[in-house]
Symmetry: D2
């Protein structure tokens, strides 16, 4: 099967040019001006952008959490991703406490097998480090898993102490694994939570109060210090605020190998959303919590100056009804997590590129190229180049679309951007050379998505 995409503007992180793109089998076979190779299908991309498929490096499909399970699984979540122009994601396999890591990877394979429509990888989230697990780390690359995640929050559940985090980073450095951290101070948060609950403060808005930006900033600085001392590369997931960004910026200015991502919820919603009446605030409950407009402004500075390398989603959807509602009487019982995998590239294009804050090239870099580079997928993914995987999106920069839970494809009963009319949407989406979505119709094949073994990682961008 050969597909020739003609007349579009190919947008890569390092530049744009008018060029035709030939997909042949699973790969991009040719990128050149005025290609006339015979093809099974020729697509007219005039006036369109041709971009590498989006990569979302932070998702939680089919995740048991707080007595319920996140509402998108590998079937619904990946299809929603495809509708949004995202053709690859990395999900977090969560270690079953104290058990071998391999079991988590096996379990996550079971979750994905037969359901996948796009390519995917796994991070390994450590929930209990011990000597046996430390020894097992070296076996992960063979399983295609080259990134870990450790939690500095969720005390007595996932949280690791500083010695464990530091020793794990040193081991990861030697093996070629990238350490990701959830950077919030779990000790402080627990004290604050207890105090708020004791005062009868149970509304969703107190979720935000219980997790002040200082708790994130210090943990971010702490992890960055560990990266500095160990020489290990570090990736800070879901960075939300000016003060944490300052810590990243200071560390990078001293040559520390630290990269960070933010997520759409931190760019476009605020703590005022957490205070919405009628328990609507619960729709915005995630950790770290959404912050302020001043934080949003700071994050945009990070997106342009390079201190924020990626925009991912932390997609972990829970229905408002029956799921978010579990916390009606106690904000700590609201499942933490938000939907977003379908919206990510559109809202970032709309506010960023249409809104003149980001060049199209930087948008591609944040959504696809840097995620691929950082997580051992580049240049197989994240760029329109010969030999790369045929993950290609024809993007219509002029088309408008109104985001709504009524029409989105995520398996969740609300949308953070309900009613937002965005300009700039995916028209046609290919995964590994196969047509996946066209004109709002799913054309892919369930089960065709592939697990991708990722390369070793020794540095960040």
């Amino acid at each position: 099967m050969k597909t020739l995409i003609k007349g579009g503007k190919v947008v890569n992180a390092d530049g744009s040019r008018m060029a035709d793109v030939l997909l042949d089998g699973e790969h991009i076979a040719k990128v050149a001006e005025s290609l006339d190779t015979p093809a099974d299908r020729v697509i007219d991309a005039s006036g369109k952008l041709v971009i590498p498929g989006g990569i979302d490096v932070h998702t939680h499909f089919d995740l048991p959490f707080g007595g319920t399970v996140s509402s998108d699984n590998f079937d619904t979540g990946q299809k929603a991703a495809a509708f949004g122009g995202t053709t690859c994601h990395i999900d977090f396999a969560i270690q079953i406490s104290g058990r071998p890591l391999k079991e988590a990877i096996d379990l996550w394979h079971q979750k994905a097998d037969g359901k996948a429509t796009i390519d995917y990888g796994f991070h390994l989230a450590i929930t209990e480090m011990n000597d046996s697990v430390m020894n097992e780390l070296a076996t992960l690359p063979d399983l295609g898993v080259t990134s870990l995640k450790l939690f500095m929050a969720y005390k007595n559940v996932f949280m690791v102490d500083d010695e464990t985090l530091f020793r794990t980073m040193m081991a990861a450095r030697d093996i070629g694994l990238l350490t990701c951290v959830h950077a919030e101070n779990g000790d402080v948060i627990d004290v604050l939570v207890a105090q708020l609950l004791a005062e009868g403060k149970t509304d969703p808005v107190y979720h935000g109060k219980s997790r002040p930006h200082w708790a994130e900033a210090e943990a971010t600085g702490r992890a960055a210090a560990f990266a500095a001392i160990s020489g290990a590369p570090l990736y800070v997931v879901h960075l939300t605020c000016a003060s944490a960004l300052d810590q990243v910026r200071m560390a990078r200015a001293k040559g520390v190998k630290v990269a960070a991502e933010t997520c759409p919820q931190y760019l476009f919603t605020t703590e005022e959303d957490l205070a919405r009446p009628n328990f609507e605030g619960a729709k915005y409950v995630c950790s770290p919590p959404v912050r302020t407009e001043a934080d949003q402004a700071a994050l945009w500075g990070g997106l342009t100056d390079g201190n924020l390398a990626c925009v991912s989603t932390d997609h972990c959807s829970f229905n408002f009804k029956d799921q978010k509602e579990l916390g009606r009487d106690d904000f700590t019982k609201i499942p933490n997590g938000l939907p977003g995998i379908e919206d990510r590239m559109m809202v970032l294009y709309h506010y960023g590129v249409t809104g003149s804050k980001l060049s199209p090239e930087r948008w591609v870099e944040l959504c696809a190229t840097n995620p691929a580079k950082i997580f051992g997928l580049y240049p197989r993914k994240g760029t329109i180049a010969e030999g790369a995987d045929g993950d290609v999106v024809v993007w219509d920069p002029a088309k408008e679309h109104t985001i709504s839970a009524k029409t989105h494809h995520m398996n969740v009963d609300y949308n953070l951007f309900e009613g937002l009319k965005v300009k700039g949407v995916p028209s046609i989406v290919f995964s590994a050379g196969r047509l996946l979505v066209e004109d709002g119709e799913f054309k892919g094949e369930t089960g065709a998505g592939r697990f991708i073994k990722r390369d070793l990682i020794h540095d960040v961008v």
Copy 2:
């Protein structure tokens, strides 16, 4: 007993003026131009500065540490202080692990009773927090103790976890106690120490390597975050480096109540001293370790812009012979600590004021006024003002003196500033109106020094 000091320039933190000072009994009775009150003694202070006696808020006299005891006790240490123009200090009473705090205070009173020649107070260093100790905190003000110290380093010895530190700060805030922290990450340091020893790296220079500035910077930022979240005031002891100062500066710029001190060793010696041959480096072993010239430059910036509030000594002397030598084969066995209480005001005057980096007023502020203000001693001490304690130093800005272990009064066999010729020395020193030192002779009375109950503390400068 009345003493009239005539013709000098009175230097306070808030300004200088030509004025005469009358001491009457324990207090300053009058400060005015051309005083002609009859007095038992009249001192000609022409060409001299008349300053409030120095206050050193960080000393460790008679401290058991690492199988030995610090070589200066309340007798030798206070006399040395007096020779250097310091007439008050605050020593750290160390909780006997898990025991009531009162026992430590009692013990420290025993150490001081009968030996004291200058006034003094106690901080309470917490080594093991528990519910009983938490409850005991509220009793400290009645004992005259209004500052705590907690350790973020020395794991399994003094180190407290984040929950303990945070909860203690909240309690301290409510009571009116100031929380001091030793800010270094104990977890990371222990891992590094073990690694260095395993590699056979046992020289003093590795003491510095085992305690990188990043470990201090992150702990400083962490404690500052706790101050921000709790609203409790915080005092960072012995800050050594640019990166930790950055953390203090960022927090203060956001309105956090955090003050910090540095010490002469961090202003005037570097890691190159730790690398001196023939085990001489051991003479410079203290924690956090001495750093680099770039750090020194940053600290001077902090002294002038106000982000460093005090210069104290962390005086904890050990003889090179028999004491420092305990670590000849293993740097971890070198007792941590340096002498300095006698030299502090002279070296800071010499490099700072004579060297045109500090005004005389700022020097007084750093050495006496801010220490008094922050630690609940002001305006009783730290200023030349009517009603204040008669702790007064006649300082000769023109006189030169060569610092040397041969002539110093500290009970230790070396001096960090051996051979340094300083310009600017104390001529006459009064404590509570009593003559203490004159022309290099001790004139005081052993046992006359007083324990000072300090005021509650709710903020920092």
Copy 3:
């Protein structure tokens, strides 16, 4: 005439205590607990604060500007000041272009003579530097004028070039004069203004657009660099924004002698006020312009961490009717300036102290002590101390007052804080020992205010 103020809490910058204050003639004769000296009048200050009179170092009374004259003169302006608890101000004598500086000082004396009710001093604003003026600088101290102001904006009117500013600072340093700067880039502003007018953008909101914060930040950084290079002290008037504050902070962190003030308009109003409909925005037109909420937050950080040393007003009132209205068709014709001298201490107390952002001591420091220290008036003014001028305010921290143009004493037809109910107001105000205001009634004597010769200035706080 002796007045004894009993039972109040004396609040100075360096601490508060319960004490009685005896005024005798023009001075404070005694400050002590339980004074029972006979007095002509005894005031019960129970429950009140007793503070040094406010000092506003930035006023423009009787100032010709843009074809009109500022509406408050030394009579109305000083009386309004007194009602607000301010008992001293420094007005800007403006050099008549190219003429000897002495002429400006003479002219300003004429403006004040016979009208003054409180004490005052003059800065000298340079509008055209030349060799003759440069030579005249050394004569200023004898005239009691020890501070200059130079403009980096208002091209072709007041603006000086970099060589002139730098050379003036070097001369000022040698003489003992403090250089104040209006820090905005006049070149850029003029280009923007021309562009906006050419586009027909004439509303008040474009006043703000024509003077971006970057233009202030760079000029602030430039002046600070000149201070660094020359070693001259620098005072930045009316600092408005986070980016300019960053420049001050960076310079101070490197030991540069730079201090800065902000004004109430920058703490409590924003560019949204400039956009008020019906030309109401003109009421907020001053230069630099009012900014954003994020800038306000940053300024509060500067007030607490010490990088902002003073809060002054830049009081330069113009009536909305007939004066501000001159610019109905062209924002450049709106007279620049706002009223505030009466409100300053109340709004800062209300939002700051009542609002828990500032301690009462810091409020006094910002409003009186630092202004006195920086501008050569301390310890004569700015503190409640024996020998100081009898400028004393009995402040009622519990009393509420609604600010309104209907009731204020400034000669201007609107108030920036119209309708604001503040908590904390002056009850009784003394100037040089004379009763000035009591219970909202003016009790002073027109003409009794004195011109104060100020001391030489070599440094800033």
Copy 4:
């Protein structure tokens, strides 16, 4: 002519891989594993790196300056470049004061014509802006010149005032030209120079004293502010110090389009070199001057965190004998400028990559890819990719070489790195597919170098 480079590791800014590279005519025809295309020559690159040829965007060949002419012309300078692995440079055509820009470009073409051995472009340095020149700017792209340079120093010679700089940036933005600035405050420098000379301070070391880092920092911040206000992209040439880098970093963190370069002299020499005895300091005289070790450390942080985008040379060589010596009695008469085009890539590789401060990919990015991207040459140059120009260097990472004026190819009688043994040197160099240098022998053809018309520039990296 086809050349096949086999077995090497292709290092691009975005990643490295083992691959063969086929040059065909002027271009890179193929990059792939295990290429077996027939070729005229096959090169064994085992153990070698294959990198894009270096691009030096800051050179001054054949430049009249201070009564003499820089000693390297387009013949000697380009050949020296080639020996160092640099295959493209951009020289500054200097406007003849007040004359049409076209004349400068014509003149620079004359300098290069017939001499060139590598490709090159021109910037246009404005020395006198007027309306006619402003109108001429729009014609530059057709001449292949898409970057300007303006001087904030060299008063009365090259320096432009702020209005001119700002208006030029606005015009440049509209046309698609990148504005480069020499950022030092010319006013201040002239005052300091006059003062030093008046004091009889004429040695080379005073060159440094006359140009303090603050003068560079403020000008850098000023230009960045203009970029922020205008939205124009900015490129700061030869940034030297921590304080200027701070200004760049702060601006970028707020989304300003500013990039900066540093040069080897600022990374590897200091003001102590300026103080070398026997007038040897003159060998290090360039503007801005070389700084301190602390500045060097800061610059390395900028190279790793991305705030410094390029390393160029500012190559402007003058012989010590007869040229530098012109200033024996007066440092202002020492021709400003240093040699370096031959050494740049080697010293940066040696200290950076061999010294573990930079990855090989980042080294390529700093020396070739970013220069190409920023200056409108990418992807034609700056990357090993199909279709790109055949500017390719086979780099031997293991080979050692001792740098010396005795053996270098620059036409200058000294070398900044005399005696330095570097590890990592170019083995074989191709320009546009032609062999240029091999095993230390020049194999190219004089006159074969091409002037490259560059693309419009709207942003920086």
